[in-house]
Symmetry: C2
Subunit: 576 residues, 2 copies
């Protein structure tokens, strides 16, 4: 801001000159004063100059609708929507979200700082204001190969970037509680750069929670119970209440919101797939749930705006008051929160669900071609078992937790698995795809329902190697090859052919196409998986596999390095 | 913080090693979670490691007393207590205040950046954590001579100092509303350095208030009515509710505090003299008043701690939670708020009203000798009037506002004032004392009650020239000379002699002695002024004069440049 701009803003505020834009006749939800004011919102150079009675060069009539501040999602992984940042902007802005705090954990695990830079560049093309946290756990664990290793030293440069608010969810809470040097070094990098650190500590309590909070980690979005929520608030942490595609924690947590602590509560989606966005909306849906669950509307709006702004140090937004960004959402009422119009920096960005701004796409070249798989062949899937008495990963529908089971399978004379229609057991393999290690690890999956063919995906939290399940090595190999050829995504092989596939060329985890395209592709994939391949309708055919390689979620997982017993925190042999 | 310290903190929090200090068996007021927890507070290297069940190398038994966070005064002028920063620390820490946000407006108006540096250095000797705002209005107005001129250019260096939070109360609100370049430049200096700006805008409303707030000025401590308070909250400003020695706004403003807006409200004293501190306490008194006026105790404590920390970006304090400074106050209950013990950074600083730490004094040499008065003599007080029909400043008891009156006085053959016992009118003069200008301006004061002798003071807001009132030029001159000789303060001349005086060698406005000494001196001065000199008991003999030279408070004032009509905003002649 220079002197001329500041003078113009003052002149607009006083009414000496007309505003650039005026949103007239609004019922303004005043999240600072905690009440509702009637008036016009005057905008100058994208900033609110005043609320009162104003004239402007461009005028919109709010016609008595409620004006709420642009909504702020406190924690989201863009990659979970399988679309680019610009595309997510197009999808969620019409629902009133104008700022997100995104953790590009997935793409950075694939592409490292190149992935981060792509996300930063793409964000600049989005009307949505995307603030990033630097992923804190790359790789997520030492039990797998990711596409990058970002230690404390490698964090120094990116964390000093003004577009990076701090360190993303610090998932390695055991590392913090046990004061592992490499984790402390990361915390200190944030600390010395004056940046915040987001938390992630499901189940942590008591003195261990104190230890975690004592390092300055300032938030948790993993609460599932009021008790957990209250313990984090009392430890001085913000609680970011989550309502995503997979995790629905908001309604339970709202029971713990009080007039004394609501200021420390905010809202997030964490993971939100296109289908959920199109069907339910985004933070507007959170607001509906808040009010439906008895939260006062002004408090609800505070949680979605001012509180998030305070939590993340975004003092330039989060309220419709002079001097802040003119991010304004007009809603029909404070119950349905039906979004009529969305203004970003005073510019009309969406009306009645339609995004109005041009969508400019970021070049994806730097994050394409992320597959580096050495000497892959069906032979790599051979297991040379000496016995059919094996450990199996038991699918548990409706979540990402798995069971650790034991089963007897049929093996042929070479010690290779033979699929039997009598048992709901298929082979599972993880193919390292970042570093040409040639690593392929195999195991068994029970309860997936697959009866014929193979499913391969390169969305595989958190390292995003290729994970494949199948009834024969040949079809599994074909599925893996198809995924590599299409630069990532998902592929279904049935009777030797690719019957459905979804290429995800951005780092092998995101599409360069629309959210509608992703949604349609996933629907088609699911249909084929259920109807042709017999996969259980109780599970998500793609996402179930996507969480099979995540060695921090109990109980048994498979990474490119082998079968991992999460409870014992060690690799175990497939043969039981 | 280094890795070793962080590891130690974690180890203490988890309970692997004993804490440095533990405050046991406390009822902890949890301002983040909004409730009361029972437990021990573990401290490591001055920082809270956890609240729970802990062992420590040094242990204090809170015996069930309430632990509240160290109190934070959001706006105070140390100079108003007429003592040094270290001494104010000694005086208010026993009442539970552990952080103040101080605006050294007075000393900087006298000594410029030298005064600021003295205050910064002195603060480092105080246990009280003193954060400074850089005075924004030096001189306060163009209608007087101060000891320094600090324009935007001169602000660049000091505002970048980490010990300076931002710009102090921006009193020239007409300058902001009218977009005067020199005021905009100051705002931009703060803005470009990422610093905050405190406000001061009594009476401002509507679009002009919008304009003021639109510049980023983030607070106001001058509210006197709920209406004024609500307008500032709705403009996005924090309201710092004041209870000082002169201004008592808190109880009225508490009527406007709601569960929705309390987070934007904080507490301050602004001006607090030793007598008020010794008799009423400091922020503990504010808390008593809050609860007495129906504010929930947790909300009251939030206003005195967390809210202030948030307002000023002091994320390292304001709550008894892991990772924040171990500034802890033990109080008997949440009604009397009687302070039992005060811990600063985990160190016991006061117990039962007694300050326990050594008091180390900052060298005052750089801010001594601040008197530069050219050729002063009784002749300088001659007025050469052509008529006795003159303007008089009417004293209005109980405030700093004055009236503009007209009176007929007796003049001698040389046109000089002759005191008449029939009229309660004395001569008033302001002697410039910073720049050897030789400026002496004279006028008349009605209603002060002085019947014999002269009173001179070098506390004269905001430029702190010497102001003197008297019944004869000779005694006035003697009083001025006495003040100069003693390097500032106050002096009473009666029957040609100094009957009482209070030297204030620090910039001519603060003592290097104790608060008790200041209090005793003022009491003696007042007694002599009332009993010997006949000054009206309805006024404060010293402070009444101290505000006579402040040309921003209506209606008629006298600066070293002449008689100033504040309403007309221009100098007027003494002869009516």
């Amino acid at each position: 801001m220079d002197k001329k701009q500041l003078k113009k803003r003052i002149d607009v505020a006083v009414g000496r000159i007309p505003a650039d834009v005026v949103i007239r006749n609004a019922k303004v939800v005043d999240v600072c004063g905690g009440k509702i004011l009637e008036g016009d919102i005057a905008v100058c150079d994208g900033i609110i100059a005043g609320v009162g009675s104003y004239e402007g060069k461009k005028q919109y009539d709010a016609a008595g609708k409620y004006a709420i501040p642009g909504l702020i999602d406190g924690h989201i992984h863009i990659e979970s929507a399988c679309v680019s940042p610009e595309e997510l902007s197009r999808m969620i802005v019409p629902f009133g979200t104008t700022t997100i705090v995104a953790d590009p954990h997935e793409i950075v695990n694939v592409c490292g700082i190149t992935g981060l830079n792509y996300m930063l560049d793409a964000a600049e093309k989005a009307a949505l204001d995307i603030k990033y946290m630097l992923p804190s756990c790359v790789p997520a664990t030492p039990f797998e190969h990711a596409g990058a290793v970002i230690d404390a030293g490698a964090m120094e440069q990116p964390i000093s970037d003004g577009r990076i608010l701090g360190l993303g969810e610090f998932m390695n809470f055991p590392g913090v509680v046990n004061a592992f040097p490499q984790d402390l070094e990361k915390i200190l990098v944030a600390c010395h750069n004056g940046k915040i650190i987001d938390g992630h500590c499901p189940g942590l309590s008591g003195k261990e929670l104190n230890a975690y909070a004592s390092t300055g980690i300032h938030s948790d979005h993993e609460c599932t119970t009021v008790e957990e929520m209250e313990s984090r608030l009392s430890a001085g942490m913000y609680v970011i209440m989550r309502q995503g595609s997979a995790c629905h924690n908001l309604e339970e947590l709202l029971k713990g919101v009080t007039p004394y602590n609501s200021r420390r509560c905010l809202l997030c989606s964490d993971d939100r797939q296109p289908k959920t966005i199109f069907e339910e909306g985004h933070l507007d849906n959170h607001l509906r749930l808040c009010v439906k669950n008895g939260i006062d509307p002004v408090t609800a709006v505070q949680m979605a705006s001012l509180n998030a702004a305070e939590c993340f140090g975004l003092s330039d937004r989060g309220a419709i008051v002079p001097g802040r960004r003119a991010d304004v959402v007009l809603v029909d009422d404070l119950e349905s929160f039906r979004v009529h119009q969305v203004f970003i920096g005073g510019q009309e960005a969406a009306r009645d669900g339609v995004y109005l701004l041009p969508v400019e796409r970021q070049d994806i070249t730097p994050v394409r071609g992320s597959f580096h798989v050495k000497d892959f062949s069906p032979e790599k899937l051979h297991m040379h078992l000496t016995s059919g008495h094996v450990h199996v990963i038991d699918v548990m529908p409706g979540g990402v937790v798995t069971g650790k089971g034991i089963a007897d399978i049929i093996i042929d004379k070479n010690g290779e698995f033979v699929y039997s229609p009598k048992e709901d057991i298929v082979k599972l393999a993880v193919v390292e795809r970042h570093n040409n290690t040639g690593n392929v690890a195999c195991g068994f999956l029970r309860g997936y329902g697959l009866k014929k063919g193979a499913v391969a995906v390169s969305i595989a939290h958190d390292s995003h190697n290729i994970i494949v399940a199948g009834t024969s090595d040949e079809e599994m190999a074909a599925a893996v090859r198809q995924v590599i050829e299409q630069e990532g995504g998902a592929a279904l092989i049935w009777e030797g052919k690719t019957i459905e596939n979804m290429p995800l060329p951005i780092a092998g985890i995101m599409s360069d196409k629309s959210g509608e395209w992703v949604d349609k592709k996933l629907t088609d994939l699911h249909l084929a998986a259920f109807e042709k391949m017999g996969i259980s309708r109780e599970v998500d055919p793609v996402m179930t596999l996507a969480f099979m390689a995540l060695p921090v979620i109990p109980e048994l997982k498979l990474t490119d390095m082998g079968l991992f017993d999460v409870t014992r925190f060690e690799f175990i042999s497939v043969e039981a």
